[in-house]
Every structure is written in C-alpha cells, then in structure tokens.
C-alpha cells in the first residue's frame, strides 16, 4: 500500500467518477466578477445564519426543554401530560420537522437570489444576451468554476 500511486482526488482525467465535469483551469470572468463575489459571500452568510439560528432552536427544544430542563418544565402540563415529558417525546420531534422545512424554504430562496446574481453579472459582461434567458450562453462559463 505504500507504493506511490496517483492521488485519488486529482482532478485529472484519470478520475472518472466525478459527476460534475472536472473544472478546467481556464480563468473565468464571470466567477471573479465583483457582483458574483459579493453575491456568493452573502449567500454563505445567509446559510451560516440560518444554520446557526435553526440549530439553536434544535438544541433548545431537544437537549434543553426535553432533557436539561425537563424536570422543571414538568410543573406545567400539555393536556394530561407533564410539559417536560411531552417536549421530550412529542414536541421536540414536531419542531424538528418544522426546522428542516424552514431551512429548505430559506435556502432554496437564497439559491434563487444567487442565481439572479449570476444572470445580472452575466448580462453585464455580455450585454448582447437577454438578462432573462442567459442560461444556454452562461452555462459553459458557470460550469467552469
């Protein structure tokens, strides 16, 4: 196993399983367009904020209300169940479903914003193409990130 062998992750043609085509090293004006850089930064910040907020709720309902404060919360009740018990066995699970739904909605709309930034940046670089339908022209460039 110690003999030298090709780096398995090398982005050369000897690694076929990459499903996205291997990025050619050619410089990509679209990728380095200031609008794009800003849009990508914003996209990632949105993502980190969403993850941070939602994971805080995740921890608060499950490990917080369901475990750490379960005995305190049992002074209250939901119907016939003590609140701590109910959070641990029902409330936390229902919240999890909502959290994942909210994340999908927030990030899919962030995806669309980033997508629009690509189109705008592309329109600026290549004013001849219509901003509404840049897909076919922009694809090779965007694929060559």
């Amino acid at each position: 196993m110690s003999e030298p062998r090709p780096d398995p992750a090398a982005t050369s043609t000897s690694t076929p399983p990459a499903l996205d085509p291997p990025p050619p090293p050619a410089p990509d004006p679209l990728h380095h367009h200031p609008r794009m850089i800003e849009a990508r930064r914003r996209y990632w910040r949105t993502n980190l904020t969403a993850v941070g907020v939602l994971l805080s709720i995740w921890a608060a309902v499950s490990l917080g209300a369901g475990v750490l404060f379960a005995d305190t919360l049992s002074a209250y009740s939901v119907g016939g169940a003590p609140l701590g018990f109910w959070m641990a066995q029902q409330g936390s699970i229902a919240t999890f479903v909502v959290l994942v739904l909210v994340y999908a909605l927030v990030m899919n709309s962030a995806d669309r914003r980033l997508q629009r930034a690509v189109q705008d940046a592309h329109a600026e670089l290549d004013p001849k193409s219509e901003p509404g339908a840049p897909a076919s022209a922009a694809t090779p460039a965007s694929e060559a990130r």
Binding site: P8, T11, S14, W44, V51, S74, A81, Q89, I93, A135
Partner: protein, 658 residues
C-alpha cells in the same frame, strides 16, 4: 390460528412479489444507476425511501416496547433518531449532494487528501467504519425478520431468514440503488400503514380519540382520568418508577446519561453511511433539502405515534394482566358466562384452546387476554406463579411475569421452569422458585419485542390486520437490510476495489464486483440471522458511537472550514474512534465500571465526538491547510448548482419514469 397463518402467507407473498416486480422494472446497467440510482429520484420519493431505509426492524418492532418499559427515558431514542435528521439536513446533506460522488468514504478520502497519502488512510478508515457499522445493523434486521417468521408462519427461523435474504438478494443485485429505492418507497407505505392501524385502533379503544398523539395527552375513556396520570399512579402502586418522571438514578438514566445518549444518537444518525448515501440519489441540492424534509416528515409519522403506542400498551398490559386469574374453574366460568349472556368478552374470560405448550390437555377459561396465551407459546412471556393462581405484574419481588428466553436455552431454562412448576404444585415443599433466578438474569417483564406485534391482538383486531402488521415488520427489516447491503457493496466495490486497488477497472467489471459484493454480504448477513451473535444488541451502541465520533466531526469540519487539513483531521478521527471503541469494549466485555462520569457505553459517542473536534481543532494551527485544489472543491460544494435547469450538469437520462 390457521386463518392468521393464511392471511400472513397471503400478505407476505403479495408484498414480496410487489418488491420483486418493482426491482425488475428498475433494473440497471450502469454503476451510477447501481450506486446512486442515476441521481434521478424525486425528492418526495427519496424521502419515503430514506424513511423506510431508516426505520428498521428495531424502530418498528423494538422501539415501542423499549419506550414502554423505559417511560420518560425512552425519549433518547425518539429524539436521537429524529434529531439527527436536523443535523443531517442542515450540516451535511446539501453539501454531500453537491460534492456528487458515490459514497461517504469518497468524501472523506477526497477532502482529506494530502501529499502524505493521508487521503488514502482516511478513506480506508472510513471504509472499515462503514462496513463495520453496516454489518452491525444488518445482524439486527435479520433477527427481527426471524422473530416475525417464527411467530406468524410457524416456520423454522432459519427458513424465514433464507427466504428474506433471497428476496433482498434478487432485488438488490438486479436494481442496485435504483431497485432498492423504488422498493423502499413501496415498503414505506406497507410499514407505516401496518404500524398506524393498530395504534389508531388501540387509541380509539382506550381514549376514544383516533389521533394517538391526542390520545396520549387525553383521558381514559372508561374512567375519565388522564391517561398518563393514571398510568403514573398504577406504576407507582406496583413498584415501577412513575412513567412520566424524568430521570431516575435507580435505572441509570440520570440527566447526564439521557443527555449524552440522546446527543450521541443524534450525531451518530447524521453520520450513518446508509442514511447519508440516500442524499446522493436526488437530482440536485434543492432536491436534497426537500428530500431531508420529506424523510423527517415520513419518519415523524411513526415516531410521533410510537410514544403514544408505548403508553397505551403499557396501560393495557398492566390493566389486563395484573391481578387476573390464570385459570377460572369451569363451574364459575359457566355462571359468569350465563350472567353475561354467553359473551366471553363481557364476562372477562378467554377460552384457551388446548395446546402442546400448555400443561392442561383440555381447554380452559382464563381471565388473562388471548394475546398473553398466544405469546406464551413463543416463550417470550411467561407466568411464574407464587401459588395464589393470580398473576402479579409488578416492579418488585412480587412480580410473576417474566421472559424466560433470557435464560440460556436448554437444560438450564427447562430445569428452572420444571422446578418452578414442582415448587408451585407441592406448595413450596419440593422444587425451587425460579423467580429470583429470572430476576437476576434481567428477565423480569415480557420480551420488549412482542409489544408491537401483540398490539393488534390487544386491540381485538381481526386476524388479517395482525397478518398485515407482520408484513409491515418484514418490510421494515428488509428495507433497512437492503440499504445497508448496498453500502457494504459500494464500500467494497467502489472505495476498495475501484478507488484504491484498481483505478483502471472498467464500468462492467466494477458493476460485477458490486453485485458480487452484495451476494457475499447477503450470505454473511444470513449467517448472522441463522446464528445470531449474542453481542448484537450491544454492538448497536458501537454503530452510533463510531459514526458520531468519526464521520460526523470529519464531515462537518470538512465542509464548514477550509483550514482543516488531513494532518489535523485524521488524528482527530483516530482519537475519537479509539476512545469510543475502547470504552465500549471495556464496558461491555472488560467488566469496566463506566468510569467516565458514569456515562453508559451508548452515550460515550458524545465524548468521543467532542474529543475528535478538540484534537482536530487543536492541531489546526500546527498543520498545513488543505491544498489549493481541495479548497476550490470546498467552495464548489458550498454553492448550489447554478443554471442547472438549462445546463448539462444534471443528466436525467435514467431518471425513473415512475
């Protein structure tokens, strides 16, 4: 009994034919179809498949019983096995889908690549973990299938296991991930319907509410008291811990342990390879996010009903078993029947047909319900009288309900039961009381795995529903087994054979190796089912502990930091793995005390995970960042596919037409 067998045969035959038919329709010719279903699975379908993949025989058969006997602490499984999906959806799934290769070791190996060949080491570690975790799991599935076959079809467990393996083998080798995915979609509907039907029935019976979630917080129909309040009261009266009280030192479920086990199960769930790999099969990142939502929604359908079912079954079990007379003499039975107008149910009696397992050759009347007598024949629940003829089901020394199968089979078990019968018959003059022995063997109370399977009988449902539940349990076992077998196959054929040993292998030979690997894995899994290793239930703690302490931190850091390189991540993984592995082995086999703050082996993955994070982050300042190429790859993974709607990035040529 015979009508039940006929119904079971019918349902098992129908569902198995359906699975095979789907696999035939979805057969594949490419490695991409074989490993990731051509990446053309719609999000909702993938969600159902993920749910079926995830909900194993343990979730379907075992979890309700476990919660039923644990009370509050059962929340570790409920939260652990659903909360992990939040981590998965937010921290892993979209990025791994964008990364777009076939397996988890692929990601670990490519992300932590380096000049020193650390990528190879990381990949190999990941492959070994993936294979180990998957086999641990498969063994449990086979045991579940065996229980169902022996109870409902009266066939030998081994025959049942072989039938199950043959079906999985055919549809997994034929259709690969694509066949498995569409089969799992069908299996989801079979298992969820089969689970919810008896739960809804028992909820209506007990609380008068069709929604079990409302029944759980509602009142007992007959008395108007709150169900959980009454259950707490009865439990306390009989010497059990109150059902809803959080944390008890006596059972070992103190706050720290509940916390650690819940967290270890959550992080472990997010790191399990057979769950992660499901997110590789969808069309794009957006679909991966939706798919995580659908998966959790479909899983919640069972996980929100299971705690309700657990409380109902607990109540029902104590109510119908405790303080009842095992045999009611004929004269009294006749009078009671006459008073009730000849209806045994109204008279509170069950006619028990003569059976080879019963001491009495003739039929007799009993105050115990029919399910108790039916399941008594499997040896998973039994009554050890103290001489008064009444069943006591309590949490202390008075208890008379046991699970004799916990004693080693053969002379020891038979001897103890015979001696006990003599002891009762002679009024304590001869023979020996078997109860202390059973208590010491941890055999108090019935076997937990029978709760769900006995539920339809408890609710007095027709034979065909009982049979349908059996088909549901098999669907749960087979769907999980097939997903795991595919992970084993892809680990061997893709990560070991192709990525490590023979990078020039042709598509055709890779596919052949993949199919052969499934074949070998099926045989090994079948052997696990026929000769169940005694360590199965203990090593499941391993699967989650190892996934939590190795994969989870490595993948999260790999996505969210660009600075962590192989030289920092690999030692972290090794420390996490070594600590968790040693602690579990030491506690399970080495007779250690749980010296780490009294944390159970099941929860130690939490500590292993923190160690992994700590070691990796501590090493970061002293080690090299990943190469430029890997950093670009991380950037690429963090972005969605842009303009993919019109671009060639997604090939949907083999998207299923279903």
């Amino acid at each position: 009994m015979d009508s039940l067998r006929a119904w079971t045969l019918l349902f098992v035959g129908l569902t198995f034919s359906l699975y095979l038919y789907i696999a035939w329709r979805a057969r594949v010719k490419t490695t991409r179809g074989f490993y990731v279903a051509g990446q053309g699975v719609p999000a909702a379908a993938n969600g159902m498949a993920t749910a079926a993949d995830w909900m194993s025989a343990a979730s379907f058969i075992g979890m309700t019983g476990l919660i039923s006997s644990m009370g509050f602490a059962g929340c570790v499984y409920l939260m652990g096995w659903t909360g992990g999906y939040v981590l998965l959806a937010l921290l892993l799934a979209p990025y791994l889908r964008k990364f777009g290769r076939y397996t988890v070791p692929d990601f670990i190996g490519d992300r932590y690549t380096g000049a020193t060949g650390a990528g190879g080491a990381a990949r190999l570690t990941a492959v070994v973990c993936a294979i180990f975790v998957s086999f641990t799991y498969v063994a449990g599935q086979m045991r579940g299938a065996g229980i169902v076959f022996s109870r409902f079809l009266d066939v030998d467990i081994n025959v049942g296991v072989v039938i199950g393996m043959a079906v999985v083998f055919i549809y997994a080798t034929l259709g690969g991930m694509k066949g498995i995915t569409w089969t799992q979609v069908a299996q989801y509907w079979v298992l969820i319907t089969a689970f919810l039907t008896p739960v809804i029935a028992i909820s209506l019976d007990l609380t008068g509410t069709a929604a079990p979630q409302l029944g759980l917080i509602g009142q007992v129909q007959s008395s108007g008291e709150s169900l959980l309040g009454k259950l707490d009261g009865i439990q306390q009266e009989l010497g059990f811990a109150p059902y809803t009280t959080p944390f008890s030192e006596a059972s070992g479920w103190d706050k720290l342990n509940v916390f650690c086990v819940a967290l270890a199960l959550m992080a472990g769930t997010a790191g399990l390879p057979h769950v992660i790999v499901r997110f590789y099969t969808v069309k794009n990142v957006r679909a991966a996010r939706w798919s995580a939502f659908w998966a959790l929604l479909f899983i919640a359908a069972l996980y929100l009903s299971a705690p309700a079912a657990a409380a109902f079954v607990r109540y029902y079990m104590i109510d119908t078993v405790h303080d009842k007379r095992f045999v009611v003499d004929n004269a009294e039975a006749e009078t009671r029947l006459a008073q009730a107008g000849g209806d045994p149910e109204a008279a509170g009696l069950t006619l028990v047909e003569p059976n080879t397992a019963e001491a009495d050759a003739a039929a007799f009347y009993s105050e115990l319900p029919g399910w108790f007598h039916n399941w008594r024949r499997t040896g998973l629940i039994d009554w050890m009288d103290d001489g008064d003829g009444r069943v006591a089901f309590t949490g202390d020394d008075r208890n008379e309900v046991f699970n004799p199968s916990k004693l080693p089979a053969g002379a020891e078990r038979d001897g103890a039961l015979t001696q006990h019968a003599v002891w009762v018959a002679t009024g304590g003059e001869q023979g020996a009381d078997a109860r202390p022995k059973l208590r010491d063997a941890g055999a108090s109370g019935p076997d937990r795995d029978i709760f769900v399977l006995a539920m339809p009988e408890m609710a007095g449902l027709a034979d065909w529903i009982v049979a349908f539940v059996a088909a549901g349990a098999l669907a749960a076992a087979l769907s999980t087994a097939s997903g795991l077998l595919l992970v084993i196959s892809s680990s061997v054929a893709h990560d070991l054979y192709y990525r490590t040993l023979r990078p020039n292998a042709s598509e055709k030979s890779r596919l052949l190796v993949g199919r052969a690997a499934i074949g070998v894995a099926v045989v090994i899994a079948g052997l696990f089912g026929i000769f169940p290793p005694g360590f199965v239930s203990q090593v499941v703690a391993f699967a989650f502990g190892l996934a939590a302490s190795s994969f989870f931190p490595a993948i999260v850091l790999g996505i969210f930091t660009k600075r962590v390189g192989a030289a920092a991540a690999v030692p972290g993984m090794i420390v996490g793995l070594a600590f968790t592995g040693t602690y579990i082995i030491g506690n399970v086999y080495g007779g250690w005390e749980p010296w780490c703050f009294g944390i159970k082996p099941q929860g130690i993955g939490t500590v292993g995970m923190l160690l992994n994070f700590a070691v990796t982050l501590a090493l970061v300042p002293f080690t090299a960042a990943p190469p430029e190429r890997v950093q670009r790859e991380i950037d690429r993974v963090r972005e969605p596919e842009l303009l993919s709607a019109a671009g060639p990035a997604v090939e949907i040529e083999d998207a299923p037409e279903h």
